[in-house]
Amino acid sequence: MRTPRIADDPVRAWEGPVLTTALALGLVLMAIQLWLLTVALDLLLGGKSEGFLRLAAASGAVFAGGLLVLRLLSARPRMHDEG
């Protein structure tokens, strides 16, 4: 049995661009997480004792969002977008 194609289901035809956009957004958010990590390290080396929780919470929120997207995607079967 062949894998269904996007062309077979016009309702799901928008999923490809949406997924690509989500992936690009995820990469940007990951870069922001890297920046948050360097800020936390800078604070630690600078002897500061405040602001760490907010940085960790922001990074955790990005990670939780990524997990949510993965969970949503895993509930949907993959479709081919090529001929």
Binding site: L19, T20, A22, L23, G26, L27, L29, M30, Q33, L34, L36, L37, A40, L41, D42, L43, L44, L45, G46, G47, K48, S49, F52, L53, L55, A56, S59, G60, V62, F63, G66, L67, V69, L70, L73, R78
Partner: protein
């Protein structure tokens, strides 16, 4: 039977159907895992900041209170061999810092006429009253040493966080 493929494809045959392509879902999953690693790293740093031991150190006498005039400095070691400097600022306040530059750990020297600490390695400079960098590559302030006065003597009692 003629083969109408380009010459480069004949010389370097490539089987696209055998290619191990990475799907967007796989890339997204890898991105989320990396995101988790970055979150874990940030959390570890946050935990370290809360678990860090209080910055109390040995109590060491470093000078008599009236020994330094305004704008003068005295070099000492604290704690255990680390170079440090005690300065009476122009406003009469006593401050002490580690001499280790926060850029690449060269020893900074006090320049009274310029009212600054100067790092000769990369021309970095720090404010005397606050220890914050005012020139050059350093971005973090000099580690400040906590002082106490008792019986006319100035003691170093730990590093400030």
């Amino acid at each position: 039977m003629s083969d109408d493929r380009p010459k480069w494809q004949l010389e370097f045959p490539y089987r696209w159907d055998q290619d191990d392509a990475v799907t967007r879902r796989q890339l997204l999953r890898f991105t989320v895992y990396t995101s988790g690693a970055l979150f874990a790293g940030t959390s570890v740093i946050a935990a370290l900041s809360y678990l860090r031991a209080p910055a109390m150190g040995p109590r060491v006498a470093i000078a008599r209170e009236d020994e330094l005039r305004d704008g003068e400095a005295r070099y000492f070691t604290y704690p255990e061999g680390e170079q440090a400097v005690l300065v009476r600022t122009r406003s009469g306040e006593l401050v002490a810092y580690s001499q280790q530059c926060t850029h690449l750990s060269c020893a900074v020297v006090y320049q009274g006429e310029a009212n600054r600490f100067f790092c000769p390695c990369h021309d970095g400079a720090f404010d005397v009253a606050s220890g914050v960098p005012i020139a050059g590559p350093p971005r973090r302030p000099l580690p400040r040493i906590r002082l106490e006065r008792a019986g006319g003597v100035v003691y170093a009692v730990g590093m400030e966080s």
